[in-house]
Symmetry: C3
């Protein structure tokens, strides 16, 4: 049986961890965080109560997954990705801020959909959704919800193309594309990319 | 009595810590750093001798506060903010650098004034001052001194608006503004925003 | 005799460390990483098997040096620099990715040449070379190979000038420049800067 691995220097207070998941050195997971099976969570990470982590997720080193951040199955989080959950943060210890931080009205959730990749050092603004199988370039600053399969780079991030489930860039002709690497077929309608019906059974 | 909390995995060599301050996991504070009261310093931080920290300061995870960086009362430092203290760094171990690093001439101090917020992943160049109650957007690269209450975003950061002490965006009409959230009143003179005299007593 | 210093909270699995090198708190170095003499590796770093580190290298806090990243002698890595080694990353745990991650074809090496400086929070894309004595500005996103002595800033990084071995900016006149600080002389030919033959003996 594959078991959960927790490094001896890690602090893991949640008990909801799926089989085969590894948690590495100096990482701190707070209580009640659900973490799926077969994940890999690198060194120097912090996962806060109120975050959720699917299965087959890869979280590289130095990441902080805050309350309100939700990573679906198969997500890749590159090193030092910057998540947020408050659009106008102030020190909650300032007397001026007692009202604002008296409840959770300030909290803006973020959802990273199945299979998406967040490049190293990218910044993900609070309150948005990154679509399935998106690829966010290293250092990109994402301040808007992204449609599935979008490839984005820059500050602020702009859509520069589209990628397959396997990460290969898609080349569209007459609004259809077949992945040169894995063969999955896609259709583009009104700037939205989706698997062709014929490919859905083929996709894993 | 509220006391100082230091997590069991933290290394804290300073003895100058105000009451009610919390220092969390895997954080390292060097000696002689003065830290005020009621601060919260997250996991995986490093605070170097020669930095100073006021009271009611919130330092989120993964921050490094270097010698020459000064955080006044009520400052918010989002996760993974990047501070610097040398504008033309080289490895001090290079033989070519013996002269430059023989004294502290290379050190450029940075001051973050009372109540300012530094967004997640922002980069603060050495030698500048961030004015009172400024708000620096996530991922912004700040290379110039900022006036009080400025809201800045981008790379390099540009002023895009003005914010109240409570973080609410201010809308000016005839060079005056009243905060829609907390009611504080401001005047703008020559691109400088300040509390109206009538509001000064009202401000905390 | 100067010896190797390893902080009590660090995990160091390599045995190839040169004399005079210091490794600080909460840092994790994997096995078989060669590290030269007189290096300084700050807190909260991670160095992966398959990386190489020269002598007189300064690695500030919070850095992750991945497999395929090579730092030559005298390199300066500012705090929270973001390295990468895969241009189209996906979670290797996704069933769709079994083929791509079955071998090391995805790995794109990065070389930081002798004496170069990487500014705080800069992002270094996989597969490029940073030339000798380059200076990368804080927060710059470098996506192309850089010639020696280049000073670059921005997103993406652009060449904005040239710097001496000692870090001083060079002012060219008739394609020659003498460093105002250390006196080394340079010639520029076809946008490439090099030491003048007369200066080569003088350089350390």
């Amino acid at each position: 049986m594959t078991q959960v691995f927790v490094h001896s220097t890690a602090i893991v207070d949640t008990t909801q961890i799926g089989e085969g998941t590894h948690i590495w050195a100096y990482t701190h997971v707070m209580r009640d965080v659900p973490i799926g099976a077969n994940c890999n969570i690198g060194d120097h990470c912090f996962i806060e109560s109120g975050a959720t982590i699917g299965s087959q997720v890869t979280i590289k080193n130095g990441n902080m997954i805050w309350e309100g951040v939700h990573l679906e199955d198969g997500v890749f989080v590159g090193p030092l990705v910057v998540f947020t959950n408050d659009l106008y943060p102030r020190s909650p210890r300032l007397p001026q801020m007692r009202t604002r931080y008296a409840d959770r009205g300030w909290l803006k959730p973020t959802v990273i959909k199945r299979g998406a990749s967040l490049g190293a050092g990218s910044v993900i603004l609070a309150g948005i959704t990154i679509g399935e199988f998106c690829m966010v370039g290293a250092g990109a600053i994402v301040n808007k919800t992204l449609p599935p399969h979008a490839l984005v780079v820059g500050s602020p991030a702009r859509v520069r193309g589209w990628v397959c489930e396997c990460g290969q860039r898609l080349v569209f002709s007459n609004e259809t594309a077949a992945c040169a690497t894995c063969g999955l077929e896609f259709i583009k309608t009104d700037s939205t990319v989706a698997l062709r019906p014929a490919s859905i059974a083929q996709a894993v």
